[in-house]
Subunit: 216 residues, 4 copies
DNA sequence: GATGAATGAGGATTCATTCAT
DNA sequence: TATGAATGAATCCTCATTCAT
């Protein structure tokens, strides 16, 4: 269902090229961010990677941060499209193990396919000082996790839910870093470890027992 | 927060002066790394912070990375001196909860007192591409954790132990980031969460139950 | 005895070279400002003209404006040193013609020797929007003229004196522009015209008549 | 004039539209020149201000300078249309005071209504090096003033007349700058001062006396 | 050993101008 | 014509590093 050939005679023919350039630039930026990190990435390097002149880059983005923001936005969008359900509140009937396992699998798959995501989450190298792009991504993701947890921790205060969400995200990012830096069986093993950490962490919080209909 | 009134009345050996300079520079570097992050830190800024000229800095360190390496080394050394026992193999009789709790407390205390440590662990912003300083620190720390875990997982393969160590470090770093970015009660809460994550993660691996001599 | 901080009045040996460089850079800046105007002058061009690298320029000046400011300051200083009397309140006994004639001669001489002065007065091309350097110069000069006029217009309000000062400066600058763009006899003629304009303008304001002790 | 259905190889329609575009662009250019000055004005900014694309601008003007030239031309034209008489040789019977007063009033009014004029006269920031547009404007204006003065200084040499014209223009520009940078009563006061300067300057040159049916 | 000067490549960004559609 | 994309040199400025004193 691509829009390459037939009918689109209407509003902007000009922007077709522009759209393409933007995509191209974002892809190049992703590449460069992954390779050198956000802080060290230079706009000239991005332009070079995209095979265009610096001026062209600035025709579409006012600065480096804007590139990261747009990249993050698109990533979030794509994620939502592809794995929307993974972010939806979980059916309480679903065993925790399964819920987490599938969520981690999905996110890991996405992050493995889009390693920039990690580079952006990682942030601009300044601990505690998150810039726009990063902050935006972070806020969105945390929100999603909070929503998820909300259905698992019905009795917890919002502050607790938020804290738990932050811990989960932190654990996930830590796991992701390990996953991304390994391959094959070892990578799979790290995926499993990440799941285990999360499952065991959340299990008591939810008042459920894995594989046990137990109560407290 | 630099030199206020420093008057050494005694004649020092040249080494002594050099040592003082180095300490001065490292302290300045720590400050700057924390403030701006490693990537964005400039050697000129470090020299300025130390109150010396750029030339002087390069008299003691061949480049920026060397500063980070030396800083990491000293940090490790200091850590070992101060909390050596926390890194020593644990008495199997110690309950896991207690062992982890005390280790996390010690490390968190150290990292809170020396925020550079985190900045260095965080690495030069290049995911997957750890530079010297980082790699060295990392290797040392991982080694320590492996040693620790070794006594807790006597039946595991080295690969498993190593993997578990990496996961623990990752979890710890994630927790540390959260701890450092909060204060007061919230910070304490995050410390506790970090412990919980680790405890619950390691508990089944060790074949023990917290406070329970029971077995699976 | 080593060189621990002794606050003896010789804090700079190093700065000898630096001082020279600064003078060199200011001279180059003067040259470039004259040639291309302040707005169009580039710091790289100034550095090139001075025969140094851009970095060197920025070791001494934080930006282009600072160069202009320092240049203006030095110019004012030099002017005061060389022609201080021309700026001092005039002996009321001095005939207006003579007072103005000598003041214009002195200033014209100075401005002819230091054409940058004009370029700086001319300002950054944006009417009404004077930047630091310009504003500073302007304020100082206006102040001088007001002082001069004060003794010639004892009965005028400060607002009138200020207005008259602005007009005089404007006339002088206009004359200077013409003087600088001509040479030889024509230049001399323009100097004379400038004097004439000012004399005739100020004459009735002072309640005196040139060469006439006569009527009102 | 704005018809559509026509099959001429050279329809006037084009011209009409082109004229409108040009006017649009010139107006935008005027706005931008006034706001940022000629040197700092960017063609992209002009195009944006005019609501067209950069390419369109270059369809009508080969470069930035050409815009300024055309703007100057139109301004001169408009001026001539509106205040033609002010530029015409003066009836020798007219008292100088009145002649100058009315001329200054007219020009000031025009310049106040069209502040670009000043921005253009001010020139491209390069003292002594007037670019095309500026030079053209300047030459035209000087010519007018020479014509004016011709009738007032019948006995002077052309060189003298030219010199006087330049001085008058300089004085006028200086006055204009002051006028434009003030408002209300103060502005009016500066207008009067400008007149006074010119009147007193020209009075003896013309061999007439203000308010006097003078003698030659 | 210490200093401050010097370097020059590189970074982000802008802009007059041209080109393809 | 009009458009918006494209260019690339030029702008200001920074920084790791080296040099002369």
């Amino acid at each position: 269902m691509s829009d390459t050939t037939e009918k689109e005679p209407q509003p902007r023919r000009r922007q077709a090229r522009g759209e393409r350039r933007i995509a191209q630039l974002l892809q190049a930026a992703a590449q460069v961010f992954c390779t050198t990190g956000y802080t060290a990435a230079s706009t000239n390097a991005i332009a070079r990677e995209a095979g265009v002149s610096p001026g062209t880059l600035y025709q579409f983005f006012p600065n480096k941060e804007a590139i990261a923001i747009e990249l993050g936005d698109r990533l979030m969008h794509e994620m939502r499209e592809a794995y929307g359900e993974a972010l939806a509140p979980v059916d309480p009937a679903t065993p925790l193990e399964e819920a987490i396992g599938s969520a981690v699998d999905r996110f890991m798959a996405f992050n493995t396919d889009h390693p920039v995501f990690f580079a952006l989450m990682h942030g601009p190298d300044i601990p505690g000082r998150m810039a726009e792009a990063h902050a935006q991504l972070h806020t969105t993701v945390i929100g999603r996790i909070e929503a998820l947890l909300g259905s698992l921790m019905p009795d917890a205060t919002p502050a607790d839910v938020s804290r738990t969400a932050h811990v989960c995200l932190g654990v996930y990012k830590a796991g992701l870093e390990l996953v991304l830096s390994h391959e094959g069986a070892e990578r799979a093993a790290y995926v499993q470890e990440t799941k285990d950490v999360l499952i065991r962490y959340l299990e008591p919080l939810t008042g459920r027992r894995v594989g046990n209909p137990a109560v407290d």
